[in-house]
């Protein structure tokens, strides 16, 4: 019935129907094998603690925000607020429900975050675009306030912080760096798989239609309001899980201040730099955000003879980030992932430059 009128592109989903049968993504499987198998053995604690775990958690947070902002087009600067909900909710569940297994607690924290996200997404049927962003700002400040003012959430600790509860799955203790790394990795892989399914499905298309032109989407029969709220809920679920992981798998101890507006901006930067509307882009963006400060520190200490103090490095980092954001928005609004894609194409065609 269909004719092949051009050569098959790499991504399977764009191949004509006959070849919809999935081609096994060998590269991806190899990467997963390395991530699950090799890294825990070879990785030292510093790498796991300071680089890989935060990278993974930030990717997950970026993924969550991307679903809402990059795919559905609802800009949000309240990501960290929902992360906070997830963190405190997971904490509360582990604390108050005896014997609740960790995966369920994480899922529960995510679900509660999703519920809160849903509530804050309700205004999206009346309020659009830029104004909606202000709603997310309200969410951010309000949630920060809630988790500071009401001691019930942090079990009346005088410091206002929550600490990692016993992290164990099926009796295996996970509080070592390797354990936390595997926990984080599993969550990220699982949730990324779900996200990929979603964006390739009708749901993802509806979201993107809403992003590109929501009046047209409504007219062709997409229930825009429902999908916007869905985007808020799903996005908040991801952010909630990321928040719980950030607090317990990475920081160890967290408070409302760990999820302030600067964290929201950081997540937004991840998706701008990585590429909005791209799942692979999240990882690229998160890697960038995680690694740049370390690179700068390294450069500052080793190349400039340690003459630059930490505070100045921070400022430099800020400037570089700001400049990069502007540069990306001007030159490559689709982020690093597009730049990398172009590079790859260039390399593939390299002998035949034209």
């Amino acid at each position: 019935m269909t004719t092949l009128s051009h050569s098959l592109p790499a991504a399977h989903d764009s191949a004509p129907v006959e070849l919809l049968r999935r081609r096994l993504p060998w590269a991806l499987l190899a990467l997963l094998a390395v991530a699950f198998g090799l890294v825990p053995w070879l990785g030292n604690d510093y790498w796991l603690n300071a680089i890989l775990i935060p990278f993974l958690v930030l990717s997950l947070a970026g993924l969550g925000l991307n679903l809402l902002t990059g795919y559905t087009g609802q800009t949000s600067v309240g990501a960290a607020g929902f992360m906070a909900v997830g963190a405190f909710a997971t904490y509360g569940l582990l604390l108050r429900v005896p014997g609740l297994p960790l995966p369920l607690a994480l899922a529960g924290g995510g679900a509660i975050a999703a519920g809160v996200g849903f509530l804050f997404g309700i205004p999206s049927n009346r309020i659009k675009g830029f104004y909606l962003m202000v709603t997310t700002l309200a969410a951010q400040f309000f949630l920060e306030w809630v988790f500071t003012k009401f001691p019930w959430f942090y079990n009346y600790a005088s410091s206002g912080t929550i600490s990692a509860p016993r992290l164990e799955v099926f009796g295996h203790d996970l509080h070592s760096p390797t354990g936390r790394y595997l926990l984080t990795l599993s969550c990220v892989v699982l949730l990324t798989w779900v996200a990929v399914n979603l964006v390739r499905s009708q749901t993802g298309r509806n979201w993107m239609a809403i992003r590109d032109m929501d009046t047209a989407a409504a007219v062709i029969g997409i229930p825009v309001d429902r999908y916007k709220r869905l985007a808020f809920a799903v996005s908040s679920f991801y952010l909630g899980v990321a928040g719980a992981l950030w607090a317990f798998a990475y920081l160890g101890t967290a408070s409302a201040g760990s999820f302030d507006i600067n964290r929201s901006f950081q997540i937004l930067f991840i998706i701008i730099i990585g590429g909005m509307g791209s799942i692979a882009g999240n990882f690229v963006g998160a890697a960038f955000i995680s690694l740049l400060p370390l690179l700068l520190n390294y450069a500052g200490q080793n190349l400039l003879g340690g003459s630059v103090d930490a505070g100045q490095l921070q400022n430099l980092q800020k400037i570089i980030f700001g400049v990069l954001i502007i540069a990306f928005l001007i030159k490559e609004p689709e982020g690093l992932i597009r730049l990398l894609g172009n590079l790859r194409e260039r390399l593939a065609r390299w002998p035949l430059r034209f």
């Binding site: 009346r126 309200a138 309000f142 009401f150 507006i261 800020k318 700001g322 928005l329 001007i330």
Partner: protein, 293 residues
Amino acid sequence: MTFFLETLIGGLLAGTMYSLVAIGFVLIYKASGVFNFAQGAMLLFAALTFVSLQEQGLPFALALLLTVAVMALGAIAIERAVLRPLVNRSQITLFMATLGLSFVIEGLAQGLMGAQVRALDLGIDDVPLFIGEVMVSQFDLVAAATAAVLVTVLALLFNSTRIGVSLRAVADDTRAALSVGIDLNRIWQIVWAAAGIVGLVAGLLWGARQGVQFSLSLVVLKALPVLIIGGFTSIGGAIVGGLIVGAAENLAEVYIGAHIGGGITPWFAYVLALAFLYIRPAGLFGERAIERV
């Protein structure tokens, strides 16, 4: 009753400060359709520059003049480097660019001038005055008066001069303005410079009130509820919006906040704005956009 009046008036006066910040946004928004997130960083930069110059021993007037010059130059640079390349992009993109810009300015500010809190002395004592039985802060009064003067000047400038008319043309329809020969870049430079100066005044006043510190750049976020309530394109709206937000915030903190734990000022204004959005998505004075398919 006295207490209520005091709270109200205190809120109103604080509101004028919000209005001042909001006006800076309105200026830029009217001319280029951008919500300039960097306004806060510009505020901070202005205040820091002024304070640093004063610390070097420069007299008040000279420091002020130099700061104005620096802000104007900065505005031109911003227009060249950030605005022009992004001329046709969406509002959100522009917002994010200004977000990036705010980081650059903050980094520069703190890198060049240090991060400690500085006291800013404008020579205005914060002495309580009594109007009848109502206690009012002298500083707040002066701030309000300054804001009023500034607003009047701006209003005159933009309504009566040729530049003002050009600005309104640009705000209305950029392409049409271009076709009539209005130099877009000039207009934008002027507007950003004006916004920079407004930012300077606001920065100085805020800095004097709470010390020149990093959190000054977050004051900008408070402007958002003001702009939502008053509309993004009206200076009058910014004033009214600022007053409403200031008063409501103060009253809410005292009368509502006391019952639910206090410290609700960080978010109350936003919730208020949200409520407003439900009723009037375009703000009190703003224009309602009609989307045509």
